[in-house]
Symmetry: C2
Subunit: 499 residues, 2 copies
């Protein structure tokens, strides 16, 4: 085979796989946005066919031969091509270790479990979800045994969402955070609490949607390529390539800040996905490199920018025009209210300071289940116990407890630590960005162009060309330091709470 022929064959293979991923992602998306309630089994039927086709296409003899040929000629490939082939080969070798029947059965389980989770959350009925969650953890353990028999099964999970992440690194990272956050939270707790009562009222879905769409414009999202829908749990997905991205949010009538910050959060994911270099479209290098880097972008927009004094002040007139009752407070009141620190029940509602504690609860529980030290059926009790221990709150129902997140129902075990990691990456990226961009001035003027340009140049356009650590090294020019994040929190909240 000629190398150019092989390269062309490989391009076509990637495009074909992108089409299958497009179809499967859209079927999932339809399931949570507009599908009728009793259609999950029908989607499962289709997904089992498409995932089987994808598996066969990815791991087939012809594909493997093609990849091995390309790998043998890697010195003649450019860096990007070689990286793409390396990743394909790595994924295929892993997929080959999972028997086809199990791969397909797992894909079908995902459809069912997502559907059951929605129902279980609605009725706060963990027992309904339990058999599915048990199977999901069971599959994860089995996949870990197949794919990475020499490492701890939870390390296998962590590595999937953040290349190279291990329990050791997590333990160290969380210990560092804890050493600074626990005293900070304690000090804040001794101060007079911020009044955020004006954030609660009656805000129609139509007004919140209007506001959400305007926020997408402000942060620089091209709505021609990014849509907004409503789901129980906000998320970002893309279809086929970075040219079609969708974000979702949820509108709570009594509080518009949930949709406000979830739209900015998902907007950060969307900007990252949409920022891939066009040459990467329809290849396996399109989109974000890892969930840690992804969350560094989403939480960057949500918190480091979205909850800054400059941005909240800039956006306040729009807030007042969409929600007239807000005129009773000042921009500074609004800034302080959206930064109120208060241990709470719901992760996605949590403030920047206590957020990592929510993650630590999930991390502990996942680690113990994957280690065989905790049974899935005992999750609710342990969840509630840890929330009391870490955050000091009583969990009144599983709906507000162990059933709150969609991640486990989608098989995303090992994902949560990337949120905390991403927050910390983000703080260090902001410090670096400030060396060349006047971020405060941009936020004051509501001008995200220079900020987005910096992110595009340094992070987004690279897609999956570099590993997460390579990417961070290239941008930061220094090692990852979690204390940049805790310094940021101490400074910001010290000022807000007068510590």
């Amino acid at each position: 085979m000629e190398l150019t022929t092989a390269i062309e064959k490989y391009r076509k293979l990637q495009a074909k796989l992108s089409a299958y991923y497009h179809a499967m992602s859209l079927i999932h998306y339809d399931g949570v946005t507009s599908a009728p309630s009793a259609t999950a089994a029908n989607r499962g039927q289709t997904l089992s066919v498409l995932s089987e086709e994808t598996y066969l296409l990815s791991t087939g003899k012809e594909t493997l031969e093609l990849l091995e040929f390309l790998d043998a000629h890697k010195d003649e490939l450019d860096y990007v091509q070689a990286r793409s082939v390396y990743l394909s080969l790595k994924e295929i070798k892993e997929m080959q270790k999972i028997p086809l029947e199990e791969y397909v059965a797992y894909e079908e389980l995902m459809v069912q479990s997502d559907d059951v989770w929605h129902k279980a959350k609605e009725t706060s009925d963990f027992a309904l979800f339990l058999p599915y969650l048990e199977k999901i953890f069971e599959y994860q353990k089995r996949f870990a045994r197949y794919c990475a028999p020499d490492v701890h099964p939870y390390n296998y999970c962590l590595d999937k969402y953040e290349d190279g992440l291990t329990m050791d690194r997590c333990d160290e990272f969380f210990a560092a955070l804890k050493s600074r956050l626990v005293p900070l939270i304690k000090k804040i707790g001794q101060k007079e609490q911020i009044d955020d009562s004006f954030l609660y009222g009656d805000f129609s879905e139509a007004d919140q949607e209007k506001f959400s769409l305007s926020l997408m414009d402000v942060i620089g999202i091209d709505k021609g390529h990014c849509g907004l829908s409503t789901t129980e749990h906000p998320f970002t997905t893309s279809f086929g390539s970075h040219h079609d991205v969708r974000i979702t949010t949820n509108y709570y009538r009594n509080n518009f800040t949930f949709s406000m910050f979830s739209v900015i959060h998902e907007g950060g994911h969307a900007l990252y996905d949409m920022g891939s270099d066009d040459s990467l479209a329809y290849t396996n290098l399109d989109g974000g490199v890892s969930m840690g880097i992804h969350e560094s972008q989403s939480r960057f927009y949500e918190n480091l920018l979205g909850r800054s004094r400059e941005f909240t002040k800039y956006v306040f007139p729009t807030v007042c025009s969409c929600f007239p009752s807000m005129k009773s407070c000042t921009a500074e009141d609004f800034y302080r209210a959206v930064n109120k620190v208060s241990p709470s029940l719901i992760r996605v509602d949590a403030d920047e300071v206590t957020y990592a504690l929510h993650i630590m609860v999930r991390y502990e529980l996942e680690k113990r289940i994957m280690s065989g030290d905790l049974e899935v059926k005992d999750l609710p009790a342990e969840w509630n116990r840890l929330y009391k221990e870490y955050l000091g709150v009583d969990v009144p129902s599983d709906r507000e407890g162990v059933l709150q997140d969609s991640h486990w129902s989608g098989g995303a075990i090992g994902y949560f630590p990337s949120y905390a990691l991403g927050s910390a990456y983000g703080a260090q990226l902001l410090k670096k960005m400030k060396e060349s961009v006047d971020v405060e001035a941009c936020l004051k003027a509501g001008d995200f162009a220079p900020i987005n340009a910096w992110n595009k140049e340094n992070i987004w356009k690279h897609g999956r060309v570099y590993t997460p650590s390579q990417l961070l090294e290239r941008v930061l020019g220094e090692a990852f330091d979690p204390f940049v994040f805790t310094d940021y929190l101490e400074k910001k909240y010290g000022e807000i709470y007068g510590l």
Copy 2:
């Protein structure tokens, strides 16, 4: 090969194809319900891959051998299996005549043209749509040459939507209608016009949606398997099997009857699709047999039932509760208003009597283009001329003229006659149904169960097992007679207008 093995292989092949159709239908649906505006090219990319796969799967050597084996053993198959194999073989032989590149290019064109049609309609810009429409007609002519070189290309088109339909049959059918409708319309025109001014006002989308959802309940649609969305042009689609069906409508603020009757119309399509026997799911016999029979169901629910005095009276209290301004009129006023006969511009808004004239315009134009007697660029002028001639109305813009329907942008040339045919089938079916079901009593009580049970037993459950004419013969026990329809119209509107 053992016959049982072949049957099992065939079952799997059908299930696989159903999955691809699910994915492709959903991508189309996403395109018109919630996709961002600039993502059509991305969908085209994915659809070109999936349609190529579908083509290869349908026409591949292995598939053909399997089907020929099954066909050779057709005497050992049951009736349903044999019919399924026959249809597959027929479709494959036809598909094989179309070169793969053209099949895929056409599928990509469909995505683009649908997108461009939406934009062209919005801005009333026929020139924008023209190059796409020219290509569509060009492809249709070419496909006709490939697949049915011995028949007139327009007969090839008609037959696709109604097995056995020809220009001769259409000409005869439309002549029959014309002979009775033209005098009827003339007589009505001489009478005092019905006041329907109270149907126009300000009706919020939320209220209309609430009403639409309640109508779905009234006519007996299981919402667990049928969803409702908003699109420019209402339609019905199904995903993978009859277990997941979607209908769409459009809400016009100034008039709720558009969404009311389009929901009942699409609801009729949905009931038909959803009524297939469960054993037909994931086979090529699932769903409706032809567009003529499909429209016989949709227009049956919309007009024969939905615009009856009994039904409008039954639903009137709900109308008043959703739209309080309607309390100013009586149920009888409402019945008369939704049956006002008035030559108009928009097909989907047309009354039962003048509706067929809208179809005849489209039929004439399609026939002339497919015969080479009219150029696509001359469509708007000819459209406007025929509307003046047949309906006596002046067309003020292409938006309200040649661009109003989505059919051509989706490649559906030859589809329109099935609407008129369906209306006429429906009248004869109603006459038959009344021999065993007290339809008036059901409508008075808002009890659709006996009506739906009759349709399920006689039409829906059979899916595509019988040809349209076989099906009609089985149900009616007599030949198709278009004058049953004109008799119905003369009686109903004679009474309404006091002729």
